[in-house]
């Protein structure tokens, strides 16, 4: 499942997508994110019959992802995003 967390407004699309078919719930993304955007869940709230743990973007932060991720996204010379780099299964992508 592609879980898209974020929003769209007049300035653009701001979504962080977690591919839950790839995610194994290891929690590495949560460990490296400086603003605690990710939360590891034992039960996927969007897929009740799943048994493995999974990462989600925690409740209130998904409506502020553009601002939350600012520190990792300088205008020029953007380094690899820590969350994307940390995820061994390549489950995370950002739309902006």
């Amino acid at each position: 499942m592609l879980a898209n967390y974020g929003y769209k407004d007049a300035s653009g699309d701001y979504f962080i997508t977690i591919d839950t078919d790839k995610c194994n719930g290891c929690g590495d993304c949560a460990a490296v994110c400086p603003v605690d955007l990710f939360a590891g869940m034992d039960e996927d709230p969007n897929d009740p019959l799943r048994v493995e743990p999974v990462a989600i973007v925690a409740g209130t932060k998904k409506n502020k992802v553009k601002y939350e991720c600012n520190p990792c996204k300088p205008e020029a010379n953007r380094p690899p995003l820590p969350c994307v780099a940390a995820c061994a299964t390549a489950a995370i992508s950002h739309s902006w």
């Binding site: 592609l2 967390y5 769209k8 969007n46 897929d47």
Partner: protein, 296 residues
Amino acid sequence: MTEDKKEFWRWTESNWKNPDMEWKDAQFISVGIDVGSVSSQAVIMADGQVLAYGNMRTGSDSPNSARNALNFAMEALGDMPEDRMDYCIGTGYGRVNVPFADRTITEIACHARGANFIYGPNVRTVLDVGGQDIKAIQCDEKGKVTNFLMNDKCAAGTGRGMEVFADMLGVSIQEVGDRSFEFKGEEPPAVSSTCVVYAKSEAAGLLRMGWAREKVLAAYCKAMAERIYSLVERVGVKSEFAVTGGMAKNRGVMDRIMPLIGMDRLTTPWDTQIAGAVGAALFSHALCMKGKGRKK
């Protein structure tokens, strides 16, 4: 304005019992409760089939709304003791306020599962426009979510946004759909923003320019349709397409979305408002089958 005119969208509270089923015959009784910002539903299932449901307005107090919806469904059922329920799942915006639920599940999962039940296994794209959010979901033939997004950051494009706008124009919410087609001349372009604040000032300007209220409504409905479509487009539209939730009943917006979608939407004899609660009850049933029901 009568009480009736103040109703949000065109729906009335209702409860129903399946005349072909009896609770006494059931092995598992599973329950789903969907507490939305505008309406709350309770669905009672016997072995995975709908036995009874209740559909009511959400009051200011969510725990009571959940209880009232369940009581309303139980009323239709007549004589079933409440401890006959094996498992109950709460969903929706107010899902944390279902005190008697065994578990909560997001409305994303429940709407997909519910749409699969009420529209059939060919549904691949589900659009739900609620009072405060827009959900676009893709699912497989079992009703399992494969791709979703939910926009609840602002009121643009939601039932709440429409309500504020209708209020400003002095048009009752249930007349919005029809009146948005009752203007002379060509369909106007969409207002440039669905943001409630900007749209209100833009509308005031159009009225001053001499536009009929109906034409302003048309322009706003069109903007809502485009806004909602842009979110659906992000997850992608796959055939077949279905709509759940209150906005499904507003033709001012729906008739303007469908040409953008480019395919027909499925129809159903079921009340589209119960989709979320149906999904929750089906998950309850699935968990009962896995042995998670309450011990008697």
